[in-house]
């Protein structure tokens, strides 16, 4: 008869030690995971639908990609403005598109202003067409991984020059992710 929590004389000590080490390692490994893949559900308006793609949340940065589909019967112009990610306590983090895209757009804009290049028109998205937008939110001082939810406001998504009337994307941490900034 073995009391609750006891170890049988037949139980190899090595097994118990390995089990304990495994539990400790598993706990540690979860806390040491550098990037958590968050999830989000699609959101839609009469004009467009936003379907989340990869959402990787690391300590100091969050990568959020999503596809924008034209749900209307007419072509629409979709542009990426300024996106804001919010922590549960309201802390705001500004998102940026890729460095190369921003550099290209900035250079193009400069050339347009000095008259060396024509203004670039954004091609319209045909009905049913999709465009992918990828953003990187970077901040210092907080651990973005340790929040059960993060939200990305989509009013930075411009449809025909106006903010899309869409609810925010709610990024949800995967089950098992250690929560709390003291971790």
């Amino acid at each position: 008869m073995i009391p609750n929590g006891g170890v049988s004389a037949r139980t190899p000590r090595a097994t118990v030690v390995a089990l304990a080490a495994g539990v400790l390692l598993a706990t540690g490994c979860a806390a040491m995971k550098r990037t958590w893949e968050f999830q989000a559900v699609p959101v839609a308006s009469p004009q467009v639908q936003v379907t989340p793609g990869r959402i990787g949340v690391a300590q100091k940065s969050a990568y959020v990609s999503f596809k924008v589909r034209n749900m209307s019967a007419v072509p629409v112009v979709v542009e990426a403005g300024t996106f804001v990610l919010r922590l549960p306590d309201g802390t705001a983090v500004i998102g940026k598109t890729s460095f190369l895209s921003r550099g290209y757009e900035g250079a193009r804009g400069l050339l347009t202003r000095v008259g060396w290049a024509d203004a670039k028109s954004v091609p319209a998205l045909p009905p049913g067409g999709e465009v992918e937008i990828a953003l990187n939110f970077r901040q210092y001082g907080r651990d973005l991984r340790r929040h059960p939810t993060l939200t990305v406001a989509l009013d930075g998504l411009l449809v025909d020059g106006k903010p899309a009337a869409l609810p925010p994307l709610v990024l949800t941490a995967p089950p098992g992710a250690p929560m709390g900034e003291d971790i």
Partner: protein
């Protein structure tokens, strides 16, 4: 001739002979978050005031005299004392590499290797605000006395110290602010206990061989700063510690107490 030899020994000790003691911290007070990795290459200069004084004041005359005649007991004591001080708390220059990982739960673990030093330290962080952090830590180290620079164990031509083995146990506390992703400042206090063992051979000056064991205590503070951007930082730090200890060699007590001034510098990457 003897003077030239002594100067050569001193130069060698300063150039890389003495093992740099494992006293530097050279990292910010904010512990690494889970999964964060830190790699650093640090260079340490150790200037123990007592050993330098003992070397210059005492050993020079005795070493000169040893070339021409048998030393008096007093001269022998002086030379042995200076040699012991150089070996056990001697000046040195060394380099080490730190590898650290955030374990989560505000713990980080750091491994240190270099110049015969092998050390492991564990810290627990306590965020005081978004800018200020506090950390408490402990470090265990083994110092083989070896260096990357090949040199003889003869501290002088007359007294040979070899097979030095030292363990360091440290407790430290550090705190400091950080400014965004470009600057960090930290300061703190530490205490270190170092049981050590070494073999001393004074047969060339009419003595004998003996294995000596002693414990040296260090206590003091440090201040450091890092400047860089996001991943890479240049780090400087200054440790000032008081040392306390005695060693008994050939039935004589030698005082190893004094002050250790240890500036460090290097590069640190956090990923």
């Amino acid at each position: 001739m003897t003077r030239a030899r002594l100067v050569g020994v001193v130069a060698l000790v300063f150039a890389g002979g003495g093992c740099a003691m494992n006293v530097s911290e050279t990292r910010p007070a904010k512990v690494l978050r889970g999964g964060e990795i830190q790699v650093a290459e640090m260079n340490d200069i150790v200037i123990p005031t007592r050993a330098v004084g003992g070397l210059i004041d005492g050993a020079r005359d005795a070493a000169n005299a040893a070339d021409d005649r048998m030393l008096t007991p007093e001269e022998r004591r002086t030379l042995i004392g200076a040699a012991s001080a150089i070996s056990l708390t001697g000046p040195g220059y060394g380099a080490h590499i730190d590898l650290a990982a955030g374990l989560g739960y505000r713990f980080d673990l750091q491994a240190r290797i270099g110049n015969g030093i092998y050390a492991l330290s564990l810290r627990r962080g306590f965020p005081l605000s978004e800018k200020w952090n506090l950390a408490l830590g402990a470090r265990g180290a083994y110092n083989s006395g070896a260096t990357f620079v090949e040199y003889a164990d003869y501290v002088t031509d007359w007294v040979k110290l070899s097979d030095t083995r030292r363990f360091d146990g440290q407790l430290f506390v550090q705190a400091g602010p950080e400014w965004g992703e470009w600057a960090r400042l930290w300061f703190g206090a530490k205490g270190m206990v170092s049981p050590l063992r070494t073999d001393i051979d004074a047969t060339r000056i009419g003595g004998t061989r003996e294995r000596i064991e002693a414990t040296i205590f260090h206590a003091g503070g440090f201040v450091g700063a890092a400047i860089g951007y996001r991943w890479i930082f240049f780090v400087v730090e200054l440790n000032v510690l008081a040392s306390y200890g005695k060693v008994r060699v050939f039935d004589e007590d030698y005082d190893l107490s004094g002050y250790v001034i240890a500036p460090s510098y290097g590069f640190m990457g956090t990923f």
